[in-house]
Symmetry: C2
Subunit: 335 residues, 2 copies
């Protein structure tokens, strides 16, 4: 490998870890050496990177000597245990778990939205939750122009957000139902095939789920504006890859749908797909495997003085996780 | 048959027509004779009613002599053509199409919400759109207590709302994808299997779909309060039967989540399913084949002074269509 940076991927065998490896390749990240780390269970497995077989090694606190960038997607418990050690070894740690996101000393970064925050890191940078990332990318250009007062969001989240076993569960349950057989439930608390479950992550005292409160709290941190009010309902739907979101936004100042479309279209990282005369709007099945955030169905909401409704779709494993993490690392290469 | 009323079902062979027959049976509607009407294509078919084989007859303007109640679910074009003739014959016509819903001289009725309107009919009573019916039932007790200012709704609508062929398309596309074959598209403009499509009914000049504007306009008519603002995004999801809705409501007066739950629980036609400690909330797969509107995930929304979020689920073919129509007819029996 001809690059200048030693990169480690912790949680390399998971759904997001696999995408991190693919995204590093596809974006030609200047990798010198890559280290693929996972739990003992996966040690000995081989994964391809740029045509080479790379052996998966066990994740330990000593895994990070000489590593420039450590990308973590191994769950919050492992992040809490190993990210500080990786940072102490001198790596810039980019952590995809929820472990450090709301820690006020740790930047929470979406490169299109708050790149400067990344440079205030003390070793660890947090990668936001998938459902938050795609929403804030779509909100940012509109907020800069007309100042957001309030956001009401309902999500349509694919099963891949719950990992590889969740994707298998959707396939297996769907097959069972189509052939009139009994279904098995392991990953989700209820049947997910041909059903919608209004429940992602654990429930909190206030009746919301952790996933919903992530959208509330991470949004104000990333947008660096505590005055933005967010109310969220997060729903799991029987889709393999790609999260869709109905986003209703109330602004402090006038913003026509035409102007909103222009702002969205010209913002980095957004693809506007919005021609209803041709039935064109973003669809989960079309965005899977790609990096941008797609926005469509942009229209005015007359129920408030200045309101917009829009439909925001992205690949939750890519822009919602792996791509955003690699983009954070890229900030340090450019500078 | 031992009842006192002659009933006609127009569109008897469709998804909703089938349910109308089932609901008349299951609710022991006092039917003397039943007439099953459809287009020429279906003439000669037989359908069961209370164990008897009933021949399907062709729908004509002369079909309604002696009929007391004519339940229509044959599409807006046929309703416009045949409902006036049925009413002229002396039948009380209950029409499930969009043909007459916004006509100011024709009542639009949900029996739990505005039963009195039914008695102002001049022959025809309109049955609201499926997605509106379940929402207004959930809104009514809350509105009576705390006055609704604004509603933001996102829907998760099952394919059965688009008829029997749409249900077959979901099954066939799902099978094809699970066995890595090409899919066929006929009913929906895009693949519906393992996908969400933010597009139901035709697009209008303002960027909204007809389905979305039905939720806006029908709600104020049924609630008999033009001050209620509604903003809707309607989405088709890969579910066979049962519509789910994320409903965010802003009130003029204080309403705690606890009080909201109490009001919902005590309102006729609503079943409150809301114990998140046991992962209990309404699910489309559980409500299919039943008549109530199910509400759960009731919680406060702190982004406005008085706000509530809730999750509203009902069988779109039953309460969203057939059951509501039969309940309208029942109003005239009781009185």
């Amino acid at each position: 490998m001809s690059g200048s940076y030693n990169v480690a991927v912790a949680g390399a065998t998971g759904a997001v870890g696999n995408e991190m490896i693919a995204v590093l390749e596809q974006r030609n990240f200047p990798v010198k050496n890559i280290k693929l780390l996972a739990s003992e269970r996966s040690v000995g497995k081989k994964l391809k990177f740029n045509g080479e077989d790379i052996k998966v090694e066990v994740l330990t606190k000593d895994s990070f000597k000489g590593i420039d960038f450590a990308l973590f997607s191994a769950g919050a418990t492992r992040s809490k245990e190993f990210c500080p050690a990786a940072a102490a070894s001198g790596a810039v740690v980019i952590d995809n778990s929820s472990a450090f996101r709301m820690d006020k000393d740790i930047p929470l970064v979406v490169p299109e939205v708050n790149p400067d925050a990344a440079f205030r890191h003390k070793g660890i940078i947090a990668n936001p939750n998938c459902s938050t990332i795609q929403m804030v990318v779509a909100l940012k250009p509109l907020h800069d122009y007309a100042k957001i007062k309030r956001v009401i969001v309902s999500t349509f989240q694919s099963v891949s957000g719950a990992g590889k076993k969740a994707m298998e569960e959707l396939a297996e349950q769907s097959k069972a139902i189509l052939s009139m057989k009994e279904i098995k439930k392991n990953v989700f608390p209820h049947q997910i095939a041909f059903n919608c479950i209004p429940h992602i992550d654990a429930f909190l005292e206030n009746g919301y789920t952790k996933e919903e409160m992530k959208m509330v709290n991470e949004t104000t941190k990333i947008m660096e504006d505590d005055s933005i009010k967010v109310s969220a309902t997060t729903v799991r739907v029987p889709v393999f890859v790609g999260h869709s979101e109905c986003v209703n936004v109330e602004f402090a100042r006038e913003l026509s749908p035409q102007k909103a479309k222009e702002l969205l279209k010209n913002f980095p990282g957004i693809v506007l797909v919005d021609d209803v005369s041709k039935f064109e709007y973003p669809l989960a099945i079309n965005v899977a495997g790609t990096d941008p955030v797609y926005v469509g169905r942009v229209r005015g909401d007359d129920s408030v003085p200045y309101g917009i409704n829009m439909w925001v779709v992205a690949d939750n494993l890519r822009k919602g996780a792996a791509t955003n993490a690699v983009q954070i690392a890229e900030l340090f290469i450019k500078n």
